[in-house]
Structures are given as C-alpha cells and as structure tokens.
Amino acid sequence: VIFRAVIRPKDDILDPQGEATQVSLRKLGFDVREARVGRVVHVDVAVDDAEEGRRQVERMCAQLLANPLIEVYEVEAAGR
C-alpha cells in the first residue's frame, strides 16, 4: 500500500525557504500572503493491511522522515 507523508515546518518555526519563495512569487505578480516549504515522501509499504501500513508510515515520520522539534506531518493514503 502506498502512502504520502506530507511534512512541513511548524507554524511558529521560521521558514526562510518559504519566505524566499513568497518574495519570488510576489515578483512574478502573485499576491501571496505566505508560502511554507516542506516535503512529500511517497512510501510503498510492503504490507497488505492498509491500517498497518499507515501505522508504519506514522512511525517512519516520527523516527526519520520528520524532525518533531520543527516539523509536523500528515499521512495520506495514495493508492495500492
């Protein structure tokens, strides 16, 4: 089963990449209030049970894919 882990900086954490992105978007004429830059990791877990797969991806996020000091994550189903 495939999951999408969406990782982004916590709301109260400075995100210089997001600020630079916002500035560039404004230069292109987009009226952007804020941009936050995170990352997306697609994971195909070698299990059949979707709930077990989701639990494993949650653990992956907690242990490696995200740093809980500065990032939050969401796990979404992304197909089989």
């Binding site: 954490i13 400075l14 210089p16 990449q17 600020e19 630079a20 990352r39 490696l64 894919l65 740093n67 000091l69 500065i70």
Partner: protein, 228 residues
C-alpha cells in the same frame, strides 16, 4: 603515549582529513573509521567531521545517523566516551538524539563561510579546559544549515545547566540564543558548527581551534572521568 581518536568518515564527509591532521599535530593518533563499520577501534575519543554526509538528503545528518558506525558511537557516548561533532558532525549528533536541538537552514538563506568570533560560556567542560571563562575565540564557519534551534523552554533548561558552551559573539546564522555549540547532559559530547580543525596553524589566520581540539586530546590522554 598518543591517545587514539577515531575520525568517522561518511559518504560526503570532507573535513575528515583536516580533522585527522589537526588531531595528529596536537599529539593524538587519528584512526580512520568508515561509516559502515559496526564497531569502533580501541580509542579514547571520537570525532565526527564536517561535510555533506549523504548529500544532506532529507535533512542534514538524518541519513548519517542511521549508519552502523553511529550505533557504535552511541554506545561509546553512553559509556562516557568523549565525542566531538563538528558542523555536519554536530548535525548528525542532533539528529541521533545525542545532542539537543536541530540545525536548520541559515536565517539569511546564504552559505556563510568566514571567521567568526565566539564566546566560551564556561570552562567546566573538558572541551573548554584550555580556555578562560568568557574568552573570545576566532574560528571559521562554513555552512548553509547551521541555524541551531530548540524550543524556548529547552534552551532555558540547557542554559541553566551550563550546556551552552559556545555562543556566536556576532550575528552568524540566526541560531536561537546565538548558540554555536552545546554539550550532552553528561558533558562528554560536544557539537559545534565552527571548524576548530581549520584554525590550528598561524598560516590559517587563527590557532584558537587548537584550544578546543587540544583540550579534547588532553582529556583523551588522561581518559578523564567525565565532568557532570
């Protein structure tokens, strides 16, 4: 007797050679350790050098901390062994949970590569034994992701326990509390973003790095019980 200091090389480390040269010049025997090795040789201290391990994929240090050698470093640190992480080595130690906080992209979003002034906040640490309290050091930095972060309550706790060993004496990268180097709770692990191994010869503009690396070699030679 030259104390043995392991220098761990990860794929993408690039200051391992300079670290070994600096340690040798200060009287240690540098022992090269490849990241895939599950055990450390018989050494008195470990240095994790600077560089861009695993291309800084995911987050700086996040992949490296999963290397077999890091399990050995963790056991070594748990037993009170002296561990020094420089730049990428600091990032790896934070990701491994051996040091508090995390290193984030510099506030100014620019790679910073220059000499910086640092302040030694205390001398109780074995790593600061050759320094005076409040002494100012000039040591170069070269990093894109050196902005140390910890939540306010964690930073306050670290400061109260004297674990903030080095602070930038000038604006460098947006680190909270201007933190440039922190120690573990037991004091036997230090991570810092500046590169002491690049400041051990007058030809390089400063020899202040030798104060920190020399203290590490002293402590390794004495196998000093770790200061609490």
């Amino acid at each position: 007797m030259r104390p043995g200091v392991a220098v761990v090389t990860f794929p993408g480390s690039n200051d391992d050679g300079d670290a070994a040269l600096a340690l040798e010049s200060l009287g240690a025997e540098a022992v090269a350790v490849w990241h895939a090795e599950p055990d450390l040789p018989d050494v008195e201290a470990v240095v994790l050098p600077g560089g861009f391990s695993y291309g800084d994929y995911l987050r700086c240090g996040a992949i490296a901390r999963c290397a077999p050698a890091m399990e050995a470093v963790r056991r070594f640190a748990d037993e009170g062994g002296l561990v020094l992480g420089i730049c990428n080595g600091f990032q790896i130690l934070c990701e491994a949970g051996l040091l508090p906080g995390v290193l984030r992209p510099n506030r100014q979003l620019e790679f910073v590569c220059r000499d910086v002034r640092l302040r030694v906040e205390g001398t109780a640490s074995p790593f600061a034994a050759r320094c005076e309290p409040g002494q100012e050091l000039v040591i170069p930095v070269k990093h894109g992701e050196g902005s140390w972060y910890a939540p306010p309550e964690l930073l306050a706790d670290l400061e109260a326990r004297g674990r903030v060993l080095l602070r930038y004496a000038e604006d460098c990268n947006g680190s909270v509390g201007d933190v440039a180097g922190v120690t573990s709770e037991a004091g036997n692990v230090l991570g810092l973003m500046p590169h002491p191994e690049h400041a051990v010869d007058p030809l390089l503009g400063s020899t202040d790095g030798a104060l920190i690396l020399g203290a590490l070699v002293d402590a390794a030679r004495d196998r000093t019980p770790v200061a609490a």
